[in-house]
Amino acid sequence: MSGTRASGKAPLGLAAVISVAAGVVVWSVAASAAGPLLLPQPTEVLRALVANRMSLGAALWETSVAAVGGLAVAATLGVLAAAAAWWNRGLQQALAPWTVLVQVVPIVAIAPLLVVWLGYGRGVSMCTASIAAFYPVFSSASSGLRAPGVELVDLFRLLGASRLRELVQLRAWAALPALFAGLRTAAGLSVIGAIVGEFVGSNGSPPSLGYTVLFASRSAHPDEAFAAILLAAFLALTLGTALGWLERRTIGRWYG
């Protein structure tokens, strides 16, 4: 049985490598057809990555701070709003229109207004990152807080537990698996939100990935733009991996 499983794993890993290799080959063929100004070769992107490592490194740092900061704000506000909505039906109704508004508001449309209010700089990208990341956190925390079955809820009522005790000892813990799933989604969105914010809210000082993508594209350096996009993907992947590690460290011994 285990032999079957082990032999089933190897082709999956191989399939991933083949898939990525095929993607690079297709990219390379398409780049040859399109020309370097439209689509650079993968090797040119790597060369741009190495050649501009100092400025791209600084841009990666700037976007990382905005995305992580925005994610932290979204996580804090999302969890607090979910707890408030669970605590009180009136609060739930009062929060509903605002949580929906945050979900549907186009970040691209609100980012210029944020520049007017906050000026150029990290404040704008951190705001757009937190707006993009808020709803998945709020939504997952809300459903997680309602995850305990009727028997566990009955148990706490039978024990005469206060609502605060029920929240702290039962619902907050039960919500963690759903919350981590929401945070992983929010992590990717926070990077997208930060970059969209940097498109309009960054003037290149300090450099950011969003500004680099925009500036390099406009100044006929698509290889550098692609290098910045690769770094943005790397950042989202790293955040997701870090959250996966944190999830295993905190709830891994009893969940999954």
């Binding site: 079955g149 028997e151 566990l152 009955d154 148990l155 009522r157 039978l158 024990l159 000892q169 039962l170 813990w173 709830i251 011994r253 009893w254 969940y255």
Partner: protein
Amino acid sequence: MGAAVELQAVSWRPEGAPILDAFSFTVAPGSITVVLGRSGCGKSSLLRVIAGLRTLATGQVAGRPARMGFVFQEPALLPWRSAIENVELALPAGSPSALAVAALEAVGLAGHGAALPGALSGGQRMRVSFARALVSRPELLLLDEPFAALDSATVADMQRLLLQAQKDLGCTVLLVTHDRSLAARLADRIVVLEGPPLRVVFDVPASMARPRSPEAVGELLRTLEAWT
């Protein structure tokens, strides 16, 4: 000493449909009462009504004690807390952990206190649930099909535990099940709840003391067969 509980014309109607309708009966202190019925007849609701977990449409439950233990159909353990921490949940804050240790020992789980529920078997998880229900020395112990998901050897063990705990604590026991043989082996009083209007309350003769002989259990089963 066990509690004497009396249901007085109790009605409970979730979303309008009557599950319990003007239902009355008494549970003698220190006795074992078994409520028999098919799925959906309202026997689990009855237990929750007695525990005060559901709001009644009409009627009242008299004699509900302060200290109650409840064993659910599922173990209902918190997976992030160890076995001993799950048992401690039922104790007031600051209680000595020796009480929880003793409760786990009493159900045959000495040395398993640090284990998380996920590392325990289904039978062991049910024992932890038992220990949690018993650790506060309840005057009334309510059990909702507690043996339904267990193998026969574990069921026999759990029944011994239940009888021992009832003897040691002198608590009143109210158990709901669909298993007639369980009722025939354990009950002082059997309530057959097949939904309104059919209800039968049967007091097992004092001559049939526990542990009952196979003949006595067979005789009780034949009586139950005639009713259901």
